[in-house]
C-alpha cells in the first residue's frame, strides 16, 4: 500500500516538477530580482559600469513618495479604474442581456460584431479612433455639431483626454466580458424564469432574484479581471496620446515604462512595479473576501 502511494507520489512529482520549475524560473525569480533591483539605483551609469551601482534601500520608494509625477500617474490610474471598470462591466452586461432576449434575431452576427473590437489589433483601432475623435474633422465632433454642440478637443484637452481614452478602452474591451456573461446567462434555468414570471415578478425583480444569482460568479470574475486590467492600462494611452496632453493620460504602468525603458532608471521602475504588484494583490484579496461574503454566491 505505502509502496504504491510512494510510486504515485513520484509520478505526481515527475509531472509537476517541470511546471514548478517554470513557475520558479519565470515568475518567482523575476519577482524577487525586481524586488532586489528596486533597492538599488540602477540607471544608465550602472548600465555603463556596474561599479556605479549603489544600494539605496528604501530610497527609490521615498523618492517616489515625494514625486508629484508619480502621484499624478496614480491619480490618473484610479480615475481610469474608477470609471472604466463600472462602465466596461455595465456595457458588457447590458449587451449580454440584450443578446439573451428571445426577441433578438441574428444573434451570432451581433455577437461577432460586438466581439470584433476585442480581437482587432490595438494600434489599428487606436488610429481609427484618433480620426473619430479628431477636433476639426472627427466623426464624433461632426455628430455633436448636428445637435448644436461646439467641437470638443477630445485628445488635446487635459480635461477630456481621460474620458476620450476611456471610451476607446471600454469599446475595445467590453466584448470579452460580454462573452463571459453570455455563457453565464445560458445557464439560467428557463423554468425558474417562467415560474417567477407566473408568480407575478416584474423584469427588475426577475433580474435581481433569478438572473443575478446565476451569473454572480461570472460577475465577480469579470470585476476582478477588469480591475487588474484597468490598473495596468498602458498601450491605449501610449498609442493614442503618448501620455499627454500635459501628462493627463500618464498611468502608473506608463510611468514605469517611461522610467525603465525610455530613461533606463531600472531602480525606480522596479520600485513602481513592486508597488503596483502589492496594490493589485491587495485589491484582489479584498474583492475575493467581499465576493465570499455576498449571499447570492
Amino acid at each position: 500500500m505505502t509502496r504504491r502511494r510512494s510510486s504515485e507520489a513520484r509520478a505526481g512529482l515527475a509531472f509537476t516538477i517541470p511546471v514548478l520549475f517554470a513557475t520558479l524560473a519565470f515568475l518567482v525569480v523575476p519577482t524577487v530580482a525586481g524586488l532586489l533591483l528596486s533597492l538599488t539605483d540602477f540607471d544608465i551609469y550602472a548600465l555603463a559600469d556596474l561599479a556605479n551601482l549603489r544600494l539605496v534601500g528604501s530610497g527609490n520608494y521615498l523618492a517616489l513618495a515625494h514625486d508629484p509625477r508619480f502621484w499624478h500617474a496614480v491619480w490618473n490610474t484610479l480615475i481610469f479604474t474608477g470609471i472604466g471598470v463600472p462602465a466596461a462591466i455595465g456595457a458588457s452586461l447590458v449587451t449580454a442581456l440584450l443578446l439573451d432576449s428571445a426577441t433578438v434575431g441574428w444573434k451570432p452576427v451581433w455577437r461577432l460584431l460586438l466581439f470584433a473590437p476585442y480581437v482587432t489589433t490595438l494600434v489599428a483601432t487606436a488610429l481609427v479612433w484618433r480620426y473619430v475623435l479628431d477636433t476639426r474633422s472627427g466623426l464624433l465632433n461632426a455628430a455633436l455639431g448636428v445637435v448644436g454642440i461646439a467641437p470638443v478637443d477630445w485628445l488635446g484637452d487635459p480635461k477630456t483626454s481621460i474620458p476620450a481614452t476611456l471610451i476607446f478602452i471600454v469599446w475595445k474591451a467590453f466584448g470579452y466580458n460580454m462573452l463571459v456573461f453570455t455563457a453565464a446567462l445560458a445557464t439560467v434555468s428557463t423554468d425558474l424564469r417562467e415560474a417567477a414570471r407566473l408568480d407575478g415578478a416584474g423584469p427588475v425583480a426577475r433580474f435581481r432574484h433569478v438572473t443575478l444569482p446565476a451569473i454572480g460568479p461570472a460577475l465577480v470574475l469579470a470585476s476582478v479581471l477588469s480591475v487588474a486590467n484597468f490598473l495596468q492600462v498602458f498601450a491605449e494611452p501610449y498609442v493614442m496620446t503618448h501620455g499627454g496632453p500635459a501628462q493627463s493620460t500618464m498611468t502608473i504602468l506608463y510611468f514605469m515604462f517611461d522610467e525603465g525603458f525610455t530613461w533606463w532608471n531600472l531602480g525606480t521602475a522596479s520600485a513602481v512595479a513592486v508597488i503596483l504588484f502589492v496594490a493589485i494583490l491587495g485589491i484582489t484579496a479584498v474583492q475575493a473576501r467581499l465576493a465570499r461574503r455576498l449571499e447570492w454566491l
Partner: protein, 410 residues
C-alpha cells in the same frame, strides 16, 4: 508526406540556421527619420563597388533614442548607427562606440567635428548639419506689411498680433507643446548656459532663460500659437499650406518635405528667417546627425567603409537634394544652390552653440518641456516654472553630482 518527425527535423534545422553566423560581407545600419526612409536610394552604388550588402533598418525619430538604449542593453546594436549628435555623450558613456579613422574627420565645417568630440576624442563622423529657423508664408506676412518676420521679440510679437487680428480664426505660428525645440531655440538666443556647477545642476532660473520662458508663454497667452501637441496637429505642412498659421519653426527637414508632392507647398510661396532673439537674432542651438560604429561591430573595417561612403561630399549633396539635410563637408556646401535659404542656414550653423555634453541631456529637454507645457496651460507662472525645472533637473543630475564628487567622471 510530412510526418511529425520530418516536421520536427525541419523546424530544428531552421532554428539552427537562424543561429548561424551572418554573412561576413554584410553591414547592419539603423537610419532615422526621413533620411532612413530614403536611404535605400543611396545604397546600390556602395554595394556595387564594395560588394558589401547593407542591412538597413529605418527607425522613426520618436522611438530612436529608446531603441538605441534598449539595443545596447540587449547587445543588439547594429554595426553602423545614425545618431542625433546630442546623444553621443550618452552612448559614449556606455562605451558603445569606437573612434573613427582620422581620415574621415577632415574637410568638415568648423564646429561639425567639435560636436562629435568628447574630451578631446571624436566618436563619430559628422553627417548632416542643421539649425532651427522660422519658415513663413510670404503672402500672410505681406498682408500685415512686413517683408519678413522681424528678428527681435518685441517687433515679432507686433507682427504676429497683426496677423491674428486680421484672421481671428487663425494663428501666427505653431509651437507644438511636445516639442522642446522652440523654447530651447529662444533660450539659446540669450547666451546663458543651461546647466551650472560643472553641469551638475540646472540653470533654468537664470535671467536669460526666464526671459525666453516668458516670451514663449506670451506666444500662447496672446493666442499667437494654438495649444496643441504633435498628435493633434496632424500634418503641419498641410496646416501651413491651408494658412492655419503663417510661420512654422523647423529645421532643414522642411526643405525636403516642402518639395514632397503630397504637401503641395508652392515653391517660392515661402521664405526663411532666423529665430528671433531678445535684441535681434543671436546664437542658434547646434543640431545635426552623425554616423557612429558600434563597439560590437563584427567587421569594423566594412562598417567604416559604409560611413566613408555616406559622409562623402557628393553623397551629402545628393542627400540634400532628397531630404533637405544639410551637409557637413565644406566641399559639399560649394555644390549647393547659392540661394538666401542656404546662406541663412550657413550663417546659423556657423553661429551655433552645442548643447551641454551630459548623458542626461535628452531627458532634461523632455522634462523641461513638460514643465513648459504645464506653464502654457496655465498651471504655473514663469518663475514657478523655472524653479520647477531646476528642481526636476537637479533630481535628474543627482547621480552625476555623486560621480563628479568622487572623480569617477569629469
Amino acid at each position: 508526406m510530412i510526418t511529425r518527425r520530418r516536421a520536427l527535423t525541419l523546424a530544428s534545422s531552421a532554428a539552427l540556421s537562424a543561429c548561424a553566423p551572418r554573412d561576413s560581407n554584410r553591414v547592419t545600419w539603423w537610419a532615422m527619420g526621413t533620411t532612413g526612409e530614403n536611404a535605400p536610394i543611396l545604397l546600390p552604388p556602395f554595394t556595387r563597388t564594395t560588394g558589401i550588402d547593407v542591412d538597413l533598418q529605418a527607425v522613426p525619430w520618436t522611438g530612436a533614442h529608446e531603441k538605441l538604449l534598449t539595443g545596447f542593453a540587449g547587445g543588439s546594436l547594429p554595426d553602423v548607427m545614425m545618431l542625433n549628435t546630442g546623444w553621443l555623450p550618452e552612448l559614449n558613456l556606455l562605451g558603445a562606440l569606437t573612434a573613427p579613422p582620422p581620415a574621415l574627420l577632415t574637410g568638415h565645417l568648423p564646429g561639425a567635428n567639435a560636436a562629435v568630440t568628447i574630451a578631446g576624442r571624436a566618436y563619430a563622423v559628422p553627417w548632416t548639419a542643421d539649425s532651427w529657423v522660422q519658415f513663413y508664408r510670404r503672402d500672410l506676412i505681406a498682408e500685415v506689411d512686413y517683408p519678413a518676420p522681424p528678428l527681435d521679440w518685441a517687433e515679432w510679437t507686433r507682427m504676429a498680433q497683426a496677423i491674428v487680428r486680421r484672421h481671428p480664426d487663425r494663428f501666427a505660428t505653431l509651437h507644438l507643446l511636445d516639442w522642446p525645440e522652440p523654447l530651447f531655440a529662444y533660450a539659446a538666443q540669450t547666451g546663458e548656459p543651461f546647466l551650472r556647477d560643472r553641469a551638475g545642476r540646472g540653470n533654468f532660473r537664470s535671467p536669460g532663460f526666464r526671459a525666453a520662458l516668458a516670451f514663449y508663454k506670451q506666444v500662447f497667452d496672446l493666442k499667437l500659437s494654438p495649444r496643441v501637441t504633435g498628435a493633434e496637429a496632424g500634418d503641419t505642412y498641410i496646416g501651413l499650406r491651408r494658412g492655419w498659421f503663417a510661420i512654422l519653426p523647423s529645421d532643414a527637414v522642411f526643405l525636403g518635405d516642402a518639395r514632397r508632392p503630397e504637401h503641395r507647398i508652392v515653391p517660392g510661396s515661402w521664405g526663411a528667417a532666423a529665430t528671433p532673439g531678445p535684441r535681434g537674432a543671436g546664437a542658434a542651438m547646434a543640431r545635426g546627425t552623425c554616423l557612429a560604429v558600434s563597439r560590437t561591430a563584427r567587421d569594423p573595417a566594412a562598417a567604416w567603409r559604409l560611413v566613408a561612403f555616406l559622409t562623402g561630399a557628393d553623397l551629402q549633396r545628393q542627400i540634400f537634394g532628397i531630404t533637405g539635410d544639410l551637409p557637413t563637408r565644406s566641399r559639399a556646401w560649394t555644390m549647393l544652390p547659392p540661394d538666401p535659404v542656404t546662406r541663412l542656414f550657413a550663417t546659423q550653423i556657423a553661429d551655433s552653440v552645442a548643447p551641454p555634453a551630459v548623458p542626461e541631456w535628452e531627458r532634461i529637454t523632455s522634462e523641461v518641456q513638460q514643465v513648459a507645457e504645464a506653464m502654457v496651460r496655465g498651471r504655473l507662472g514663469v518663475d514657478a516654472a523655472a524653479a520647477e525645472m531646476d528642481a526636476r533637473v537637479d533630481r535628474i543630475l543627482a547621480k552625476r553630482r555623486w560621480l563628479l564628487d568622487r572623480g569617477r567622471i569629469t
